[in-house]
Each structure stands twice: as structure tokens, then as C-alpha cells.
Subunit: 523 residues, 2 copies
């Protein structure tokens, strides 16, 4: 997730050194594995192809290694799948001794379009510094080169910007040294349906490539630990790599640097030191409770849960202060809650749903670690649920409404269904109504789409859930996705909320959840 | 010196491991010294200023270090003089935690124009890879950065290509870590004339900045050991840093990798291994004799001279095979001899001069190390001198002529005067005639200009030599040169033989000889 809103950096923060030490002790080892190029390709403009470009193999890597390259030459390599890692290669001179530096330019792409469309024309509103490229001057040849930065790519374009007329270049031993903190072994998939099997495989690769020193949201961008992504990654991790210590480490990281009032940040930086971002989101902070709940469910590690319970409790306390006398979460116009990338979405109702959803889990935790608190929290829960049904339910329309404008959106329905407002039959009816009378305020991200599928499954609408997974994630697979994308609008696959598809993340944690649905629900 | 002619790389070469070991044992230690910025400047187009740009100080480095830089910001630093070395600096983020990489671009200039005129528009015929620039992406801030490549610069332009909207950059502790193998101490200058003192100082800085692991021709370009440059550097070294072991090392390097027939190359690469270039030049190979002669004169190191005498002798033998029955060096149209950057120059006469000049020194060496050879070499010398006077002297014009077209040029007069053809009075008359009836084929490089001054002094025309030094090298000093330039035409200071002044070397060994004239001749 990226956002350009200027936040107040005057927030006073508190470090919790014991938590930070615990997080540091859990820093995972990264395994590294070298992958050779699969093919040398040409790229052709093709309006029918995803993102407008089609690859055509033109030679083997071995043939490339025989080429003598001079100024103006270039080639594109296809590594066959999406990886996160480091580039290494050998470079030597042919002809006279090299009498000038060799100037090379590297462009890395998760998609073919990134290595075909010039970054110089990028006009999006996220920093162009995310675009993956590198200039390199080799003063001494032959050279064995290890580019120092980590990149996220399937495609690599190499351009020989300049050599002298007295020598040519030859490259060899190109390797993508892929890194991950996911273990070599992964629980086997459970699907029997071939399309679901394929979706499951892509989900697992997506999660694996996001598993680094933390659960990153996207290894190309933002390369960072976001609480909303962590929550979904922890689910998929439970049924695949079962690297529970990485979830534990991330919980300690969020708990280790909080706002003075105890609120956990929406995301945390871990280099060079652990620093919580100054972005605080109502829903993301509350999700700390849900991740802790899930961690305890998966591991039975009461000691950790007990240690982190006060942090979780604090998120609920802070969220409850935002409720008005009627028991409703107060709305506002600033960037206070995420829910979805959707400027026109009124987020009050969905936020109400998130609070109720997390409060239910907080009560379960309170019963274990602070039972004297459970009853009071239970009262608040009932008040919030009653207020939602009383103030937000519009029986005429058969939908929940949100905000002063009584807006109807997909997000409001999804989250209040997940919060289990009203009867099971009412909720099933809402889910059907969504299909029959789709609100104009639609779902924009795979992140909200996840919650839609979760709501379907919670309502027992299993076939509808499978159909949605196949229609949405299956479409990405059909487009050739190696990993699931941050953004995907089936009607407009080129869409970017950032003004350029080049800056979209094409391996994004919040899109990897089909594997959880498939395995957890035996789809 | 750079040239784009395609040479035959099929030449068979021979390695002389004992010489290469001797060279390796003499590899000098480099001293490093950190220089802070002197000023932050703005650059303005100014047709009156050298190279078209004028600097204006706008702030102190301390004020720069307080600035908060965002995308699109840039600054130019003036280090106050020319240095060769490495850039280091600190960079930190201001505002929210940095949520995107910081993309910086660095441009290094020996001259102001290099950091002002976009390299993207460079159209010269030398490889653009020489243009000094670097892209940098900082993934983690704060950072202490040491750029890995060596640069050659007084001016540094830093552009903030992209950060996110959530943070700005602050830079600090910018340092130019200058390296040289010249000693801290240098013999004091001898000039009393203030202009000559200034010229002497710039000469010494030029030599110092070219003294690295070898005597480089120019630390920006070609950063390489050329025999023609070495010969002039050894002269200046004798009267300044007296780092005789560096001369010795360079002699071993040339002797260590020769053509199968024993010819030494015009230049030698030393990284990653010692490899002689496949460029062989009649004059440059012969200069091995002169450098060895000078080394023995300066050091009395007979052991080294004796060891290298066979290599020197071999250059003379090979050169003599190029003489015809009349005793004249045969002309040809390929790139066989350097003399000057001058496409229209016929080089036969000058080459005759170089051969005679070096043969004289070979005889002096032969008398010490192979006396039985001296008489025969003396006979060849007399024949060559007689042929020059008989075949090349045109008494009508009062000039030597060259080639089938009987061309009159400055270079032919200079080299046959240095070869001491004809009487002392005849030679003085030629030097006067050059001034009164200047040939159209003029001097193009400071390298040939050096030999002109040398010829004047050899003829006892001391005042004319001083006037020439002041008019030529003094003009560069007046233009603000910190070091002397590879190319300088007082009539056209922007001239480049490479199609762009941006690629000229502005610290060039072959231009550093005024210090030798001044000190050696007590000017």
C-alpha cells in the first residue's frame, strides 16, 4: 500500500525494547537459490496481450552468451517465473583490450511492460524511485558482477549504452539469486479442481516471494510490513509454510514501537532500525487483535499471546473512544481507515464492521488473559452490533448504509456481514442482493475481494465463493500471472490507482489468500 | 590519448614474467586525503567565460547541509580545485520515515560545463562511457555512502531525481577523498616570475593528479599508462616528486608484455592483469629508450638499466628496419606514428627526428651495457642524420620537408631540430623562420607544444621559450585552470578533437612539462 498524504511527523512515539529484542531474536535466515535464464525474448506490442506486450523467444541463453555486444545492443531475458533476489553475471571483453569503461543499463520487470515502456515517460504519482533500474559502469574487464540491490522480477532488459569501438562485450553466467524466508517445504495443496490447483500454486508463490525478513506487502513495492497484509499472510502461512515465528516476529515489531497512547502503526520499517510509520489507520490497528488471535489459535503459544495481550487490548480501547453515544464509529474525511482503495467510499459502516469483528476476537483473548474484562467488552460488543442494525440497516433497500449520505457500497455489506450483524438469513440475503443489485461503489482491490469471498464462505455460499475465486484470481492466472497482483480490475486489467501500471506491484501479499480459502474450506 | 581505429587483435604477444614481477613489487601505495566542499554554486551561461559557463557562489556547505531536498532539487558543489578520488557523503531523511527509495543522480566535472551541459546530448566520437556520472538508489536511510568508482573532478552536481512526498533528504559530510601516489613533499619551485610560479604550481598539480598506480595520461581519460606521456611525466617527476620507483615500475610494465618481435606497446593496461594494448606506434616505442636513458641519468640505477637495455635496444632495431636505402624512415598512411593530433600532418620527417633523437640516447646506453654495439649504432646515426639533411632540408624555404608532397609543418621542424640536424645556426634560423613564416600545418596539442619549447631551449632561445610558456600555459592559468588540459587551442578554447569538449581530459600528463622547463633551465 502506498499513499502520498502528508502525515504529521510530530507524533510522539514510544519504544518497547523488550518487544524489539524479541523481534530481533526472531529475525529469519534467508535461503538463496540461483536461477538461470529460461529464454532470451523479443517483445512485441500486442493490444490483445495482457499489459499490451507479447513475448516471443528468440534464442537460448547459451546463444546469447556467444553474442558480441556493442553500443546500442540490448536483450531481454525471461527467467520463467517471478522471483525476488539479486542479479549476478560475468562480463568480458572481446577484441582489443577494453580501452574505455563499459556502460550498461539494467531494467527489471515483474511484467514485460516494465522492461518495454520507458521509465522516462512515467507520470504516475508514486515516486519513480520504485521503478527498478540500474546503471553500471565497468572499469575493469573481465568482471564478475553482483548488483547490490534486491530486485523483484521475471524479466530483465540489458542495454549496452556505450563501449568503445575497439572492443565488444560478452555476457555469461547470468543468475537470479532468489531469496525468501519461506521454508523449502510447503504443505501440499488440497484442491482437486485443476483451476483451483493452479490458483493455489500462484497463491503460494505470491506468499513465498513476500516472505523476507518480515512479511512484506509487495517485494517490489512497498517492501514493507503492513498490518493489513500481515493479517492475510498469516492465514495463508498457517496452511502452507507454517512459519509461525515470522508471524510472531511481526507482532513484536508492531508492538515494539507504538504511538505514545499505545496505538500500533499501520506499517513498520525495519531498516536501519525498527521505526513505526506515522500512518495510523483505525482498521489496521484493530487487526493487531485479529492477528494475535489467529497466532494463538494456530500455535497455542500462550506465553507470547499473554505478553502481547495488553497491546491488543489497547487497540480496542482506542477504537472504542471513536464511538459516539449511539454506539456508532464516528465518520470523518481524513485518511483514518483503509477498507479499500476507493475515494468515493464512505467508510463508516465498514469500520463499524471491523471494530465489531475484532472486538469479538478481543473478548476471546480477554477470557484467557484478563477474564475480569470480558463482560464489559461483551456489553460494548452488543451495543455496537445493536447500533449497526438499528442505525445502519435500511430494510427498504436490503442493504447497510454508511455515513450522513446513507451510502450503499459493497464494502459496507461485506464488513457488516463479517461482523455478523443481523440474522444468518439476513446476511445471506444481503450477499445475494449484492449480486442482483450491485451497488455502484464497487470493490477496487483484491484486498476487499478477499473479504467478499470470506463473507460468502461465512454465509455458507460455497459455490458462489468458488465462482468468485475462479472469476477473479482465475482470470489473473489465465493472463499468465506468476504471482497475484496488487490491483486487478477484470474489466480494465491495465488500471492503476497510481496513474501508471508500471508502478503497480505484481506480487502482492493481500492477493495471496485463495490458497487459504481452498485449503481451509476444502474447496 | 584515445583513438577509435580498429586494430588487429591477432597480434601474438609475449609475457616477460620477471619484469612483470618487478613491476608488481613496485606498485605504489596511494595516499588519501579528504577535502570538503568549498562552496555551493550556481552556474550561468556566459559566452565570455571559459567553456561558456560562469560560477557564482550561492551558499556555504553548512547552509546546504540545512536544506531539505525534494524531487527535482539539485545543487552544484565546487571543491575549489581539481582532484582525483572518491566521493563520500551522509544522507538522511526529514519528515515521515522514508517510504520509498531515494533516487539521486551525480555528475562529476573537471570543468563547470560538464555538470551543466546534459550528457544525453553528447555526440562525440569517443565512448560516452567516459562521461562521469552515477545513479544511486538509497533503500535505507540514513546512509553513509561511499561511491565505489574513482572520479576526477572539481565540480559535482547532485540531482534528487525522486523521493516520495512523505519525506525530504538532507545531505552532509560531503567529502572528496583524493588519492595519489605522489609524496606529500615536492621539491620547491625555483621561479621568481609570478606568472611562471603560477604555471609551475598548476604543472605540479597536474602531475600529482596523474600519479596513481602508474603514471596515467589523464585521470579522467584514458586513466592509462601511455609511453609518450610517461616520458614527459618522468622529466617533471625528476624535478618535483622524485618518485623514481614509479618510473621504474612503468618501464618494467612496458617491458613485461611485448609483441612477439619485442616491440613495446604504446600503452599498457594494468587491471585486472598487465596487458599491453594492441596499438604500436613508431615514436612511442622508441621513447622507451629515452625514458630508460633519463631514468639512469636521474638515479644512477645501473642494475635496472642493464636489465632493461635489451628491451630498449630492440626498439631501435625494429625502428631501423623501417628505414629505406637512402636512410629515411618510410612513410605510410596508417596510424603508425603519433607526433601530434593532426590528420593533415605528414609525419615522415618528424619520425626521422624521433628516431635520430632516440638513437643518440641508445648509443649512450650501449656504451655502458653493450659497448661492442656502439660503433655500428653510431654509423647508423650518422647515415640517418645525413639523409635528413640531404633529403629533407629545403634551403629555398629554410624548412625541412616531409613525405612525397614535401610538406612543411611545425612538427617536422621541431623534431629535426631536436635531432640536431644541421648546424646550430641553421636550427636557430629554423626556429626564427617558424615565427616569421608559420607553416599552415600547425601544432595541435600541448604535447607537440612541449617539443617546440624544448627545441627553443635547445637552440638557446630562452626568451622565446619563456614567452611561449607564458602565452600558451599562462593562458590556461588565466582561464582558471587548476590543472593543464589535454587539448588547448588559444584561438578556440572550446576545441575538441573528439567532437565534444565534455570528453576532453582537463588534467593531462603531456601538458605538465612547464615545471620541468622552469626548474631545469632556471627560467
Amino acid at each position: 500500500m502506498s499513499q502520498a498524504i502528508q502525515h504529521n511527523s510530530e507524533v510522539t512515539m514510544t519504544r518497547h525494547e523488550d518487544f524489539l529484542r524479541a523481534a530481533e531474536a526472531l529475525r529469519p535466515a534467508l535461503s538463496s537459490r540461483a536461477y538461470p535464464p529460461q529464454a532470451v525474448i523479443d517483445a512485441h506490442v500486442d493490444p490483445q496481450a495482457i499489459f499490451g506486450w507479447r513475448a516471443q523467444p528468440v534464442s537460448t541463453p547459451e546463444a546469447l552468451y556467444q553474442r558480441e555486444l556493442t553500443s546500442g545492443d540490448s536483450f531481454i531475458i525471461d527467467f520463467g517465473s517471478h522471483y525476488v533476489g539479486y542479479l549476478s553475471f560475468a562480463c568480458s571483453a572481446v577484441g582489443s583490450p577494453p580501452d574505455a569503461p563499459a556502460h550498461l543499463h539494467f531494467t527489471f520487470g515483474e511484467t514485460l511492460s516494465e522492461v518495454c515502456e520507458p521509465f522516462s515517460e512515467y507520470q504516475g504519482w508514486l515516486s519513480s524511485s520504485w521503478l527498478q533500474q540500474q546503471d553500471l559502469w565497468l572499469d575493469v574487464l573481465p568482471a564478475e558482477v553482483n548488483l547490490p540491490r534486491r530486485y523483484c522480477f521475471r524479466y530483465l532488459k540489458v542495454e549496452v549504452k556505450a563501449v568503445s569501438q575497439k572492443f565488444r562485450l560478452r555476457v555469461g553466467q547470468i543468475r537470479l539469486n532468489a531469496v525468501t524466508s519461506a521454508s523449502e517445504t510447503c504443505l501440499p495443496g488440497t484442491a482437486t479442481d485443476p483451476q483451483l490447483q493452479a490458483i493455489d500454486r500462484v497463491s503460494v508463490v505470491t506468499l513465498k516471494n513476500c516472505m523476507q525478513e518480515v512479511f512484506e506487502d509487495g517485494p517490489k513495492r512497498d517492501r514493507r510490513l503492513w498490518l493489513g497484509d500481515l493479517r492475510l499472510q498469516a492465514l495463508v502461512n498457517d496452511v502452507t509454510f507454517t512459519h509461525h515465528d515470522l508471524v510472531r516476529r511481526c507482532l513484536y515489531l508492531f508492538a515494539g514501537h507504538t504511538r505514545e497512547d499505545g496505538m500500533v502503526s499501520a506499517n513498520v520499517f525495519v531498516q536501519p532500525d525498527v521505526i513505526a510509520d506515522d500512518t495510523f489507520l483505525f482498521d489496521y490497528s484493530l487487526f493487531f487483535v485479529d492477528v494475535l488471535y489467529g497466532y494463538l489459535q494456530s500455535t497455542g503459544d500462550s506465553a507470547t499471546a499473554q505478553q502481547l495481550w495488553p497491546t491488543a487490548r489497547r487497540q480496542v480501547e482506542l477504537a472504542l473512544t471513536r464511538c459516539d453515544d449511539a454506539g456508532l464509529v464516528r465518520d470523518s474525511d481524513d485518511w483514518w481507515v483503509f477498507i479499500d482503495w476507493q475515494a468515493s467510499l464512505n467508510k463508516q459502516a465498514a469500520a463499524q464492521g471491523v471494530l465489531i469483528y475484532c472486538l469479538q476476537r478481543a473478548i476471546w483473548l480477554a477470557e484467557r488473559f484478563e477474564p475480569e474484562l470480558a463482560a464489559a467488552l461483551g456489553d460494548r460488543l452488543q451495543a455496537l452490533k445493536a447500533a449497526a442494525q438499528r442505525e445502519l440497516w435500511d430494510p427498504e433497500r436490503g442493504f447497510f448504509v454508511s455515513g450522513a449520505g446513507r451510502q450503499v457500497s459493497w464494502a459496507s455489506q461485506i464488513w457488516l456481514v463479517l461482523a455478523e450483524i443481523g440474522s444468518a438469513e439476513q446476511r445471506r440475503e444481503i450477499m445475494r442482493n449484492l449480486r442482483e443489485n450491485p451497488p455502484a461503489i464497487a470493490m477496487n482491490t483484491p484486498y476487499l475481494r478477499h473479504h467478499f469471498v470470506a463473507a460468502l464462505l461465512q454465509c455458507g455460499l460455497r459455490d458462489e465463493a468458488i465462482a468468485e475465486i475462479k472469476a477473479y484470481w482465475g482470470a489473473m492466472v489465465d493472463y499468465g500471472a506468476d504471482t497475484f497482483w496488487e490491483i486487478f480490475d477484470p474489466e480494465q486489467p491495465d488500471f492503476s490507482p497510481y496513474g501508471s501500471k508500471l508502478i503497480n506491484s505484481y506480487c502482492h501479499a493481500w492477493s495471496c489468500t485463495p490458497a487459504w480459502f481452498i485449503r481451509q474450506y476444502g474447496l
